[in-house]
């Protein structure tokens, strides 16, 4: 990173501001803080940040609405903070253009990792190189081939489409609806069965232990994420 990235933190809870702002500064980011949706939208317009960390429970404007309005103006990454159990809000925010989410109570590394992934993607540092590596998994987009170590894994065209979609958005959560729409088209977005079946097939072929996925991670009630950060 050549330039210090600027992050706008939007949360009305003072304790969160007091803890998270120094955390992000310590990791080398510039941080600005807004306590309301109105203030956030103003700051986004007057001094556009590189990334927004947005709490969904704001006192004035609904967080998802703030998300929609920012996205209408700009492509800057948005990471939403939300409560466990508020899966509907997360999905809505993701569908309105948020890039990722972190569930409260979260730890520092979780938030920083998500921010790093989101910034890396927009900075274009490692985007389409023709292949993706995640652990010992290699996805070769151009030749439609997938390897685990040296061993080639044969996938059906649909299976490859699903894997490629997640790989192109590596480390980012994709909602069930977004995946259904991308792979089967708009008419399938309310038929998640397609996705369950295909994901089960894909995991069976890719995952060393399909019962405990390492690459294709479920985000319950929200969607799936292909993680490049595999534990070994």
């Amino acid at each position: 990173m050549t330039r210090t990235a600027k992050i706008l933190l939007v949360d009305d809870e003072i304790p969160i501001q007091r803890a998270v702002a120094p955390l992000l500064r310590s990791r080398g980011y510039d941080v600005e803080v807004a306590g309301t949706g109105e203030a956030a939208l103003k700051l986004v317009e007057s001094r556009p940040p590189d990334l927004v960390v947005l709490d969904l429970g704001l006192p004035d404007i609904d967080g998802t609405e703030v998300c929609r309005r920012i996205r209408a103006e700009s492509a800057m990454p948005i990471i939403v903070l939300s409560a466990r159990g508020a899966e509907r809000d997360k999905v809505e925010a993701l569908e309105l253009g948020a890039d990722d989410y972190v569930t409260k109570p979260f730890g520092p590394d979780e938030l920083v990792a998500r921010i790093r992934v989101a910034l890396r993607r927009v900075s274009g540092a490692e985007v389409p190189s023709g292949r993706l590596r995640a652990g010992d998994l290699t996805v070769d987009y151009d030749r439609h081939r997938v390897f685990r170590g040296a061993e080639e894994i044969r996938l059906t065209p649909k299976e490859f489409d699903l894997l490629a979609l997640l790989a192109h958005n590596a480390d980012r959560v994709l909602t069930h609806r977004a995946i259904l729409k991308a792979i089967w088209g708009t008419q399938a977005i309310n038929e998640p069965e397609h996705l369950w079946v295909l994901m089960a097939q894909l995991r069976k072929k890719l995952e060393p232990d399909p019962a405990k996925p390492r690459y294709l991670i479920s985000e319950p009630w929200v969607g799936y994420r292909l993680t490049t950060d595999t534990p070994d």
Binding site: P15, A19, R84, K104, P105, G107
Partner: protein, 368 residues
């Protein structure tokens, strides 16, 4: 099965009634030599009524007819035949039959009505139990939601501040600030924990009062102490209009006042004033807390002291547990006191607590 049980009971009662009629006939004719138609009629009527009280109408009607035949055969002249010589006896027999049938009918109808009433009462009871269960469920989920919501922010803040403290980049000022943040949030968790405990004690009816003679100012001091950081952004104006001792439970009273003070601090802007008044009168100890907030919406007033009730507007603006005022009212109820809220003409909300209490001049007053 249900229809068979009354049927067998009817048969048994019928048999008992026939036996009863036979016994009456035997005792009156062979032993007591009763011939008075009135006595005999009433005795048979008694048997009919007993049957009617316990069996169906049709069993009672059958017994009525049997009793009438026995009456006629054994007691009405000429005895030993069903034939009646005097017209008067026809009338007596007919009246007996009508009376016993009407009585049977009345008796069974009354029993049916009583049964209906019992059924209705059971239905009401069942509905009440279901209502209570539903309310219990609602309270439980409200409790969980409130706890989850009020744990999330402090836990996140503490977790991140603690990890900030571990990193080496912090200046002394930052280190102090992160430490202060952790302490503040731990205190918030501590208050939440105390609230849950107090609520559980109120629910269990485990609040016992321990009456002591105290100076009202001590209660205020204790409450201010308990409120701690929650009041640090507000100005307090205290007015104590009393020079006597009151007999109350000082801990409960101070705790209730604490919740009301916290509530006032939460719902009024920083740097505004909170006016606290303490007075002793014939009603007991009266404590007033007035703030300079936006007051209470009319729709919220009746529900203010309900557990987990949070005003529609305040839900959006202010973080709160929805426990404080309901705990205050629970504690005050244990002291047989009252708490209520109103809007002040000049703006802001006014809470008043009245606790019945004996009073006596303070020792200081007496010696001076």
């Amino acid at each position: 099965v249900a229809s068979q049980v009354p049927a067998t009971r009817d048969l048994r009662l019928l048999a008992a009634a026939i036996l009863g009629i036979a016994v009456v006939v035997f005792v009156y004719t062979e032993w007591l030599h009763v011939t008075n138609a009135l006595i005999v009629g009433f005795t048979f009527l008694l048997i009919v009524l007993v049957v009617a009280a316990m069996a169906t109408f049709w069993a009672a009607a059958l017994v009525s007819v049997l009793a009438m035949l026995a009456f006629n055969f054994f007691f009405l002249p000429p005895v030993g035949t069903l034939y009646l010589s005097e017209a008067e006896n026809w009338v007596a027999l007919f009246v007996f039959l009508v009376v016993s049938l009407v009585a049977s009918n009345l008796s069974t109808a009354a029993r049916a009505r009583a049964q209906e009433a019992v059924d209705r009462a059971q239905l009401v009871e069942a509905r009440k139990a279901a209502d209570l269960a539903r309310q219990g469920e609602e309270l439980k989920s409200a409790l969980l939601a409130s706890i989850a919501h009020n744990l999330r922010t402090p836990l996140t803040a503490i977790r991140i501040a603690a990890s900030n403290l571990q990193s080496s980049w912090l200046s002394d000022a930052d280190r102090h600030e992160q430490g202060d943040l952790i302490l503040t949030e731990v205190e918030r968790l501590n208050r939440l924990f105390q609230n849950i405990l107090e609520m559980a004690r109120i629910d269990a009816g485990a609040i016992s009062t321990d009456l002591r003679w105290v100076d009202p100012s001590e209660i205020l001091e204790a409450a201010r102490d308990q409120v701690g950081l929650a009041l640090r952004h507000h100005n307090l104006d205290l007015k104590i209009d009393s020079d006597v001792l009151v007999q109350v439970d000082p801990l409960l009273t101070a705790s209730a006042l604490t919740h009301v003070l916290e509530n006032a601090a939460q719902y009024s802007p920083p740097e505004s004033w909170i006016f606290v008044t303490l007075a002793v009168s014939r009603d007991g100890l009266t404590m007033g807390v007035r703030d300079q907030g936006r007051g209470i919406d009319a729709g919220d007033l009746p529900h203010l002291f309900e557990r987990f009730y949070r005003g529609a507007e305040s839900k959006r603006r202010v973080a709160g547990t929805g426990m404080g005022l309901s705990i205050a009212s629970g504690l005050i109820a244990a002291e047989h006191g009252r708490i209520w809220a109103e809007n002040c003409p000049g703006g802001g909300a006014q809470f008043t607590i009245v606790i019945p209490a004996a009073q006596k001049p303070s020792a200081l007053e007496q010696t001076s």
